[in-house]
């Protein structure tokens, strides 16, 4: 999976950071959130998911949560992950970078109605 030029995050790693931005989650839940939030465009497989999680753990962007759910409601063998302060900072920086790119794209009519018109004309 190609890494973006900004902070060396792959698309999967960035999506995982986004998925953890509002809650601690376990692996399968992260997959579900990513699939839902990307509207099915990005469906991670288990191997990619855990390779990405390991990279994020090694880079200190996420950490395992010590909290465990009630065993009656969930499998206590699951590992839950959450963002670290470095993860918040990296995710925010990446979002800011993307936002600037979108602004540039806006100024060049690569978004919204102007873009749709051009695509329609061609």
């Amino acid at each position: 999976m190609a890494r973006s030029q900004g902070l060396g995050l792959t698309s999967a790693e960035f999506q995982i950071l986004l998925a953890l931005a509002d809650s601690e989650r376990h692996g399968y839940e992260i997959m579900q959130v990513i699939a839902r939030e990307s509207r099915g465009a990005l469906a991670l497989g288990p191997t990619t998911l855990y390779r990405s999680i390991r990279t994020l753990l090694q880079r200190g962007l996420i950490e395992e949560s010590a909290q465990r759910p009630d065993p009656e409601h969930d499998d206590e063998r699951r590992r839950y992950y959450r963002l670290t302060s470095g993860g918040w900072e990296t995710a925010g920086t990446e979002v800011e970078r993307l936002r600037r790119l979108v602004l540039v794209a806006d100024s060049k009519s690569l978004t919204g109605p102007a873009w749709r018109r051009k695509v329609g004309e061609s």
């Binding site: 890494r3 902070l7 060396g8 692996g27 399968y28 997959m31 469906a43 991670l44 497989g45 288990p46 191997t47 990619t48 998911l49 855990y50 390779r51 390991r54 990279t55 090694q58 880079r59 200190g60 962007l61 499998d75 063998r77 699951r78 590992r79 470095g86 990296t90």
Partner: protein, 440 residues
């Protein structure tokens, strides 16, 4: 519901098997999590879309697994880093040099008859064995140098990686299988050698000549095969030993290489001097030639040093093997170079009374004597390493008694290689009996 749970359970079992394509490090850490996530995926997809949903999960998971495995293996190889590249380069150089030398001798000694293919087989075994001691355990840090954690972020904390024993279970299985095959080969040959002549005579059966050769009915052939089995056993034992490392920072094989090189150069210098000034037979120091002292002494000394440094006698065996192997290589290389460069001088000195090359002179004597030496080089390369193995174990035992390092825990670890060593020792005894009995 039952159908669903069965389909999911079988899928998870199959997926668990397929996870074997991932590197062991990654699998060890994430095997259970991967299975759990895959199980969740299968369960939900089957519940929502039935068998078609399960098939879709499989398609996606297979592509994901194969792609992930390729990436993970690449990452594993990269994280081996400098040490892996250096050891691979060293292994290629050492193995290539040995094979080149043995092949060169083989080409030059085309008249050596049945020993030539034997040497070529040994060259292959030697190549594999040579690579083993150059392997280093993976130790150090990953993360900081890991290409998956770019320095741009600068937040990657180095993660210490525990040194892993180089011997993997697959390697042990391979070594065990080779040892078992060599043992079976020997037992089969011994059984046929003991029983077939009488059985054939009783049945008045005369097998064809090729059969006679392979059944060991033509004198020295069975000895040659027994030697092959013994040498193979020795190399297997060395491969097993080399895949482990003593807990103290000592390289027994390097001790052996140095001892063998020093003794070999010394023996070569003495031999060259006497060759140039003396006539056959060679002069001796008192009643004994100096060569055997160096030949037998170097593996014992190397074994003693290795056993003393590690506190484990088995590493004396490893040092002894390498000492004798290097000794043989130095003598063969130096002897061949000397023969070729100084043939004119040698036909007037030491070759001039060669009992194996009677009634010839000049270039015919040179050719005959070089062929005679090549035969000796073959035998040296073939027989000295197993002999060094035995001598090194004697030195190792002495060294262990004088050990300055090595805890009781180190010594407790030693018996794990006892089986191949016993096997090698058994074959060595057979070799010596065969050699003493009917080979020479």
């Amino acid at each position: 519901m039952k159908e669903s749970s069965q389909a999911v359970a079988w899928s998870v079992r199959l997926y668990a098997l397929l996870l074997a394509v991932l590197p062991a490090d990654f699998r060890r850490e994430y095997h259970e999590l991967l299975l759990q996530t895959f199980r969740d995926l299968c369960r939900d997809s089957f519940a929502a879309h039935g068998a078609a949903g399960l098939a879709a999960v499989w398609l996606h998971a297979l592509a994901d697994l194969l792609g992930g495995a390729a990436g993970e293996w690449g990452r594993t190889l990269r994280s081996g880093g400098h040490a892996m590249r250096r050891s691979t380069l060293g292994g290629i150089v050492a193995g290539g040099a040995t094979v080149a030398l043995i092949l060169l001798l083989g080409v030059l000694g085309r008249g050596a008859g049945p020993r030539l293919p034997l040497i070529l087989v040994l060259a292959t075994v030697a190549l594999v064995t040579l690579l083993a001691p150059l392997r280093r355990p993976r130790a150090g840090l990953v993360g900081a140098n890991d290409s998956t954690s770019p320095a741009a972020v600068g937040s990657s904390a180095p993660i210490p990686v525990e040194p892993q024993p180089a011997a993997t279970s697959a390697r042990r299985v391979l070594v065990g299988a080779v040892s078992a095959l060599a043992l079976l080969l020997f037992l089969l040959l011994a059984y046929l050698r003991l029983t077939l002549p009488d059985a054939l005579a009783a049945g008045n059966v005369q097998p064809g000549p090729r059969f006679q050769v392979w059944l060991g009915l033509q004198g020295e052939r069975d000895a040659v095969l027994a030697i092959l089995a013994a040498v193979l056993g020795a190399y297997v034992a060395v491969a097993v030993l080399s895949s482990r490392r003593p807990t103290v920072d000592v390289r027994p094989w390097l001790t052996g290489v140095v001892a063998g090189a020093v003794a070999g150069l010394l023996a070569g210098a003495v031999g060259l001097t006497t060759d140039l000034i003396a006539r056959n037979p060679r002069p001796t120091l008192g009643s004994a030639d100096v060569l055997p002292f160096l030949l037998y002494g170097a593996p014992i000394v190397a074994g003693l040093l290795a056993g003393r440094a590690t506190g484990q006698a088995v590493y004396g065996l490893l040092a002894g093997f390498w000492s004798a192997a290097v000794f043989a290589m130095v003598l063969a290389t130096g002897g061949l170079a000397t023969d070729l460069a100084l043939a004119n001088r040698l036909v007037q000195t030491v070759w001039d009374g060669n009992q194996d090359c009677r009634a010839v002179a000049g270039s015919a004597l040179a050719a005959c004597s070089i062929g005679d030496d090549l035969d000796g080089f073959f035998l040296g390369l073939l027989l000295l390493p197993p002999l060094g193995l035995a001598l090194g174990s004697v030195g190792g035992l002495l060294g262990r008694a004088l050990a300055v390092a090595g805890s009781p825990a180190d010594r407790a670890a030693a018996p794990t290689v006892i089986a191949p060593l016993l096997f090698s020792g058994l074959l060595l005894l057979v070799l010596l009996a065969q050699v003493g009995g009917n080979f020479w």
